[in-house]
Symmetry: C2
Subunit: 623 residues, 2 copies
Amino acid sequence: MPEPASPVPEAGQEAPARVRLSFEPSGKRVSVPPGVSVFEAASWNGIAIDSTCGGHGTCRKCRVRIVDGEVPVSRLDPRAFDPDRLRQGWRLACLAQATGDLTVEVPPLSTRPKAATVGVGRQVILRPAVQKRYVELDEPSLADQTPDVERLLAALDDLEVTPDLHAYQRAGRVLREADFKVTAVVVDEALIDVEPGDTTARRYGIAYDLGTTTVVATLLDLSTGTPAAVRSMLNLQQPYGADVISRISAGMLDPSALDRLREAARDTLDQLTQEVCKQGEVAPEEVYEIALAGNATMVHIALGIDPEPLGVAPFIMAARSFPALLAADLGLRVHPRARAVVLPALGAYVGGDIVAGALATGMDRDRRVRLFIDVGTNCEIVLGNADRLLATAAPAGPAFEGAQIRCGMRAAPGAIETVRLDPATGRVELGVIGDVEPVGLCGSGLVDAVAELCRTGLLDASGRLLSPEAAAKVSPALAERLATVGDERVFVLAEAGGETVYLSQRDVRELQFAKGAISTGWRLLLEEYGVTEADIQQVLLAGSFGSYLSPASAVRIGLVPRLALPRIVSAGNVAGEGAKLALLSVQERAGALALLEEVRYVELSDRSDFNDRFVDQLAFPAG
Amino acid sequence: MPEPASPVPEAGQEAPARVRLSFEPSGKRVSVPPGVSVFEAASWNGIAIDSTCGGHGTCRKCRVRIVDGEVPVSRLDPRAFDPDRLRQGWRLACLAQATGDLTVEVPPLSTRPKAATVGVGRQVILRPAVQKRYVELDEPSLADQTPDVERLLAALDDLEVTPDLHAYQRAGRVLREADFKVTAVVVDEALIDVEPGDTTARRYGIAYDLGTTTVVATLLDLSTGTPAAVRSMLNLQQPYGADVISRISAGMLDPSALDRLREAARDTLDQLTQEVCKQGEVAPEEVYEIALAGNATMVHIALGIDPEPLGVAPFIMAARSFPALLAADLGLRVHPRARAVVLPALGAYVGGDIVAGALATGMDRDRRVRLFIDVGTNCEIVLGNADRLLATAAPAGPAFEGAQIRCGMRAAPGAIETVRLDPATGRVELGVIGDVEPVGLCGSGLVDAVAELCRTGLLDASGRLLSPEAAAKVSPALAERLATVGDERVFVLAEAGGETVYLSQRDVRELQFAKGAISTGWRLLLEEYGVTEADIQQVLLAGSFGSYLSPASAVRIGLVPRLALPRIVSAGNVAGEGAKLALLSVQERAGALALLEEVRYVELSDRSDFNDRFVDQLAFPAG
């Protein structure tokens, strides 16, 4: 696939400056924000450089040579290299800041680093924050009264860690029971525990995708990057409403509902936690860190933060990122001192789930101009490439959730999810979840049904179902399915056991509003970016709904740009993938935070031309 | 009082190097470890330099001029001074490291910093870790959707803080209830809360002296440095034994006793907390930080750390210092996110109470050679001055606690605490605590009684009570008080209501052992330091027992060096004073940690000459 030319920013737009690094001998080229270390720039882009300390400047293993470009000698370089080598350009990669373009020679690895494929084709070098070190310590004596924890820390010479009280409480007994042969459990810069004997082979984390509807937990083996177990379930907050606004409203009407909402979120997460641990045969105490991606409302509620300001204008978050959390702050029963990483949010309606998705799809690293669309009640859109990213949110309404749709339902057994019409024979082919009798229509089925009615001409470009007479001229066989319910024209999709599933004229209008909002969103974003539909190299459909959408139907109704179908990709549960990335690599985690600076949020609601454009986008594209 | 010449270190002894700073125009001279900032060096020594950020390099107010000596330009200096001023030697004091001798000109203060007198004549500039800032924020709008906590942090421009989850949870509601006029509560580098309106006038801390016997809590107004309330009570751990070894043993015999010991410590601290808050009319939630000084065993137990390794050879602590604690980690019901500072320990038997005492008496700043003795079952000794400090612990046994003494008792009502004998008249003058009938003899009374018997000649230098016949030649009147109980010679101090209080021959032996251990301790320390008794400028008697000891009697029996009595000073509850210092000043707190590096611990038990010296020291000095 040819690399597109970088789009030229319009005059007056500030493009965040990037520096370009070439790595030898691989020949890989990357661009990163200035000031990023050579080590991180390499790690972010799947280029392995030796390291045992994870880039903290202590192991002195990440030796590289600056072949071209300027990197000053850091405070630790003289300890790692003699003056000759310094003159030849040798530097520790973790302390070498890329402030200009560089060519960097990376020596062959002395150890083969582990990597995992996560997200959408992301090859990630494993650098979890969770580290374990097995040490055999000298026993103390009257001649060496070094305190227990200081003795242990002295043995972790390449780590600079601060012990948790929990580690102080455990150290004395564990050291003596295990004859001073113990494993230190370190998360980031904290010593969280001391375990008897050698437990280095066992370190786990859980990545959560805390969706409004569905919650997914993945237990990860942090030594290998592989999932040990995955479980999902409906968010127990469901009784309080299907979307975030109804959940926020529930809390506003009854403050005690807030506590119940928080407990429902925590119960959901906890139930999944116990299930994945059981399934993966891992003790909850062996889970030392968790990562969680969710929209801003879900995250606020789970952390016990009142989401009300998110739900009313001017839509204010408590914060974009929450540093220094414990899993216990989310009510999780894992290791008592397990840390929690919550993916940061760009805005009240472009949350941590979208940042996770952008991370998992490599939006900030890929050189192709790509369009990321998470389709849902609130539709989040990200556009751009490694050079520049824009994001926005478009209020699509509840059509995709099945609410407001006459025969609408959630994507559950009995839901029609695909529709195929044959105008010649009048045959209607339905794909039904669970292969049972159809009882309703879910979001992807709705899009398919409307797209097929457009294609066959039973629906005109303005979104009006033809009259039976006009329809009979187009397809006599299909026209028979046109009927009237109440005062409304409908198209009957299925009749079975007295149950009729149909698409109504008003349903079509609901979908038109949704697709109008979404396509107005990405069109305005394209303009803001200075590119056209033709410049887009790939469309990523994300989220539990977007992933099931038929690309052909999405193009047909104008929900996404008119690209060759192979370029319209179902990205899957990218929020969960992003959470996994954050667990597996501290560099990826830093990358998520960096996205807050790299992505510019474009507010659509205050654009004077939004409504005009929206009305233009209500119509369906000409066949 | 003339300054003594600095003692000359013996060959082979490493004296930690110090650099000397002269401050103009005050003319004050101080010596500090190399690398300390000019700001801290000044603060430690009561010299005020302007600052609002407390030395974090952000307020740029701490401007000084280096008149003599070399201080490189720091990264922030060019933002604070133009090139001319830089050439003239102007620097920010908090970033100016003193690596060599300096003369520093301090401009007049633009604001008068508050100071408090704490400890033994220590004048301390108030720089508590607890800071409050009242801010009036712009209300958010669609044009300015800055998240709540980020909006608040932006207003705290001279502080770099990380919010606790608690602050995230509170911010949204408090900001809106208080029309965005709020007070940020900062402890060190954490934003712990957001309070409605202007609460800057109210910030409190509690300093605890967690003694084995007695626990004292002082509620401090951190804005003024003045105590708002003080309360003391017996440690509720008393039922588990009088000294640390019996408490440790209780836990070893029955692991469940450990939990009960911890709860007893916490109940004691909590009861005092509620009492001082009530007395001081302060809500517990207004207490944002606490500081605690205690011996290593008390601290370990209170933190839930098994103290067993402290109690058996080779006597190992979990750690010397415990960073990053919450008051809640000690079970204290104050502000839920209040921080806790636990004074660090030098060793298993030279604990945080002694470090606090050394801090409160300025052992590391005073240029006089001083001897600090905390008299108790375990006797801690510190010797030295600003240039060099040594410490040791001597096992004095339980004599001073009244245990093993026939008529011994704790210093409580009815205890004889002073004794005066008149050999001519036979009159015995007793000071009794509470002015009631005497029922026993406490530690200071024991020392007084033995000292008086020595002075009057009824006790010979070897510690033997004279026979009635021999005594009659010395003082016929007092000789009448010699009697026999069981097979033991005794001296009757009081007979009242059938109750006889006497001093037995074996009691004298117990005291001899105690004073032998103590005087062996300080004598060996003097040798190690390279000075003689005559070089000592001051003796500080510390601890609840030491403070009540009669200097004259202490000299008489050889417990302390033979100095002019005004130079033997009762230092009082210096552990509690040290805890107060740590609360009032982050510089003092850092000073306590620095003591771990500055004080060299001398182990006496492995010295081959200890026993010989001990036996030599059993005898009482010749009259």
